[in-house]
């Protein structure tokens, strides 16, 4: 996972900085607060942009690489902005055995992105999750915080249709540009 070059405007970056500073006020300048801070900043901004990580490093008086190291170590933190809707495919044992990897393939195909990426129009982001503990409903996909059970490729299309997403034209555009 690498930090993608971000196409955020300077106003946006300034806003991120201000928001981060505001959150930092609620914490002591101790290293042990790093993870709770990151969780709170991501909760507010949706992801951890470079400028936010720099602010945090400065505040805690630790090297920026330490912040980056922690961010990239844990699965929860993301370096690119989330989409409007989050799609998280469960790849727990039970889900895998019932075809979770086939479901993931279907999402990848329809959205045209890999896990941990966001569609260009920022409508959807795709990710995998180790297990959401609903093993009995396998294969599970968590769509915007709601775990959906029995998500097979046809259900993937169904969920996308419910969002009004026209995957067929996307598919065509993609194959033409290939």
């Amino acid at each position: 996972m690498t930090a993608k070059k971000q196409d955020t405007s300077s106003e946006e970056q300034e806003q991120h900085k201000q928001d981060t500073k505001h959150i930092l006020k609620g914490f002591g300048r101790k290293r042990l607060n790093l993870i709770p801070i990151l969780q709170k900043v991501q909760g507010k901004l949706g992801y951890l942009p470079r400028e936010a990580m720099m602010e945090i490093a400065e505040y805690l008086n630790i090297p920026a690489i330490d912040v980056y190291g922690v961010v990239t170590f844990y699965n929860q933190f993301r370096l690119n902005p989330p989409g409007k809707h989050s799609i998280r495919v469960c790849l727990g044992t039970a889900c895998h055995m019932k075809g979770g990897y086939i479901t993931l393939d279907a999402w990848k195909r329809r959205l045209g992105i890999n896990p941990r990426e966001t569609t260009e129009d920022r409508e959807f982001d795709l990710d995998t999750v180790a297990c959401v503990g609903c093993c009995t409903m396998a294969p599970v996909t968590v769509v915007d915080e709601k775990p959906e059970g029995g998500v097979e490729p046809t259900r993937v299309d169904g969920i996308l249709l419910a969002f009004g997403y026209d995957y067929e034209t996307k598919d065509k555009e993609k194959s033409e540009s290939d």
Partner: protein, 635 residues
């Protein structure tokens, strides 16, 4: 001094208990009560809609009938689950409830006197009206201790827990000396339920004797094993049992602070624990001078950030300190030098949940359950190809066969049992021949698996053992923190070999290398993640070597699961010309009818998702999987 102090604790607690009891008596006695199971598993099945439907219906009809949101009873296969207790009837449990059924239950049972037997799973007490859970074969084996409250009390109300006997063990413990408590827990033979099975009493003793203050106790709720969800269920359904256990443990070792480390993927558990901690603090069950004693103890909730290795205690401590969760060498053990270099105990959720039962019912009672070297019960999460998925709690020493076929009711759709995967990525796959192994810490290890955190995934004949091994390696490879060379590079090499096998590219030499490498990774890794990572490979090689050889020599997947080694094919003589079911459902438009309207799959376009196989009506059954793909005849 001692005598007066004793009476204070008892008196303070009696007051709390009496208040809680009268509160709940007033709320529930002589009324019909509806309890809706709304833990994460229930919610995924639509429990919140059911809950709302009950509330609306009760309000609409202006009934005096409390609707309570409870946790998970463990019967996940039948979610959403509802329990209705009505005076004059035994408490009745309903399964597969939806809002329409909810409306009917209110109308016909709460208001009328028809208990709607068509929706009943079982009554909770023996009676002469409906079958009860005790009549089911699984009742012979099940014995609930730490899951007893789950699904039967309101996890958001501390008073409900106290009214049911909660925190009495804490009041009792505070009257004893810490040494008495550690002695009791040691005598009970309680072993750590995180997987390794280290005696809890001994660990506490080490920490009590260690110098350095303040001491810490950490509850490990970073349940990262894919396929295990009992810790989540306990925290969501009965959070106070864990908190009570933690306070008692804290008192025993002389800790000042406690941390509950919950993984962030469990938002509901985080919310429930947060709420429970607030309520406990309000009643002065945590904080300073707990129940009027001299003991001060605070509990802090910490959210993990999604790293499997943080289940390892030294990695968990690193994570608490705000660093990347990498394990370190032991000794020194955390019991002498843990969080910030201070003596720290890390106990699993289940271990702590047992504590209050051991204190109030005694070590001898606990020893009477299970077997000599592993007393007590074991909690398993049943998932995969099994009829009764969900949580089960059985005495240690129950056999795998009893759990899978009697408690879990066997394999669905008449398929044949192939293997059971126990203990998650650190565990192993055991075949039919190992099913008479009793489940306890030592026997499972002999079979090549381990208790782990208690995930039990049942596999049937459609599951490929090479693929299962590859899946677990992919998981451990991704989650390896990268500290030890053998774990970082070894798991990657093993994964590559296994991936080759599942794609039909392996050689017999690879198989030998794989076996050798597995032994080296086991020997050369610092923590349990690396040491146990080869287990899925070693057990599948031990019991299912022929499947590996078939992949390598014939390029064939006998279970028809490895996507690279199979092809979908429509049998021309079975395909019905007037039917287009597969054409319509194919997600990539790979199926077209030929001149005679027999459907043909374009193998180039096919992504092998299997939708056509499901779509083909059973009276034709024309879609088949073939392995190796060269079996597909040319036109």
């Amino acid at each position: 001094m001692k005598a007066t102090e004793e009476t204070t604790i008892a008196a303070v607690f009696r007051e709390i208990k009496e208040r809680a009891e009268s509160l709940w008596r007033e709320r529930l006695d002589n009324k019909p009560v509806i309890m809706v199971g709304a833990a994460t598993c229930g919610r995924a099945a639509g429990a919140l809609d059911v809950l709302q439907a009950f509330r609306d219906e009760v309000k609409k009809r202006n009934l005096d009938c409390p609707v309570i949101e409870v946790g998970c009873m463990g019967h996940c296969y039948a979610e959403p689950i509802v329990i209705i207790s009505k005076p004059g009837y035994p408490p009745i449990c309903y399964g597969y409830v939806n809002p329409v059924i909810a409306e009917r239950l209110v109308k016909e049972f709460v208001l009328g006197d028809n208990p709607c037997p068509e929706f009943v799973i079982g009554a909770l007490e023996a009676n002469d009206m409906l079958p009860s859970f005790d009549d089911f074969p699984r009742a012979q084996h099940e014995r609930k201790i730490i899951l007893k409250n789950c699904g039967h009390i309101d996890p958001t109300e501390i008073e409900h827990y106290i009214a049911g006997g909660g925190y009495a063990a804490l009041a009792e413990a505070l009257e004893k000396t810490p040494d008495e408590i550690i002695g009791e827990v040691t005598r009970s033979g309680l072993r750590g339920r995180g997987g390794a099975g280290f005696p809890a009493g001994r660990k506490w003793q080490f920490c009590r004797e260690a110098s350095g203050t303040p001491k810490y106790i950490v509850c490990n709720a970073d349940e990262g094993d894919p396929g295990a969800f009992m810790d989540r269920s306990i925290l969501e359904s009965d959070p106070h049992s864990v908190i009570e256990g933690m306070i008692i443990a804290g008192y025993a070792i002389g800790a000042r602070y406690g941390y509950i480390y919950v993984r962030a993927e469990y938002p509901l558990a985080v919310q429930r624990v947060e709420n429970a901690l607030k309520q406990a603090k309000k009643l002065k069950l945590t904080g300073s001078h707990i129940l009027g004693s001299d003991f001060n103890f605070d509990i802090i909730l910490f959210q993990g950030s999604g790293a499997f290795v943080c289940g390892e205690e030294t990695a968990l401590i690193a994570s608490l300190e705000g660093r990347a969760g990498m394990p370190r060498h032991r000794p020194p053990y955390p019991a002498t030098s843990g969080l910030y270099g201070k003596p720290t105990i890390v106990n699993n959720v289940k271990t702590l949940a047992y504590v209050r039962h051991i204190i109030s019912q005694g070590a001898d009672w606990f020893r009477g359950i299970g077997i000599k070297n592993s007393p007590g019960t074991a909690v398993f999460a049943l998932a995969g190809k099994i009829v009764n998925t969900g949580l089960v709690e059985v005495p240690m020493g129950t056999t795998l066969r009893q759990i899978i076929f009697e408690v879990g009711s066997g394999i669905p759709r008449g398929r044949k049992f192939k293997a059971v995967q126990i203990g998650g990525p650190s565990g192993g796959c055991l075949p039919e021949s190992a099913l008479d192994l009793p489940v306890d810490f030592d026997s499972l290890q002999e079979g090549g698996a381990m208790m782990g955190s208690g995930g039990m995934v049942v596999l049937d004949e459609d599951d490929c053992m090479v693929e299962i091994a590859r899946y677990f390696l992919e998981f451990t490879q991704r989650e390896s923190c990268g500290k030890c060379t053998f774990c970082r590079l070894g798991t990657r090499q093993m994964l590559e070999i296994l991936t080759d096998f599942t794609q039909g590219k392996g050689t017999m030499e690879d198989l030998d290398n794989l076996e050798k490498l597995a032994g080296e990774v086991r020997a050369g890794s610092l923590c349990r993640l690396g040491q146990t990572a080869p287990n899925p490979i070693l057990t599948t090689l031990r019991y299912f070597r022929d499947e590996y050889e078939e992949h390598i020599k014939l390029g064939r997947c006998p279970a028809l699961m490895c996507l690279h080694l199979i092809a979908y094919y429509i049998l021309p003589d079975k395909c019905e010309r007037s039917c287009d079911a597969c054409v319509g459902t194919c997600t990539v438009e790979a199926i077209t009818p030929d001149k005679k309207r027999i459907k043909v799959i374009d193998q180039e376009k096919c992504v092998k998702c299997g939708t056509c196989l499901t779509a083909c009506p059973p009276q034709y059954n024309a879609v088949v999987k073939l392995s190796p793909p060269s079996e597909v005849p040319d036109k």
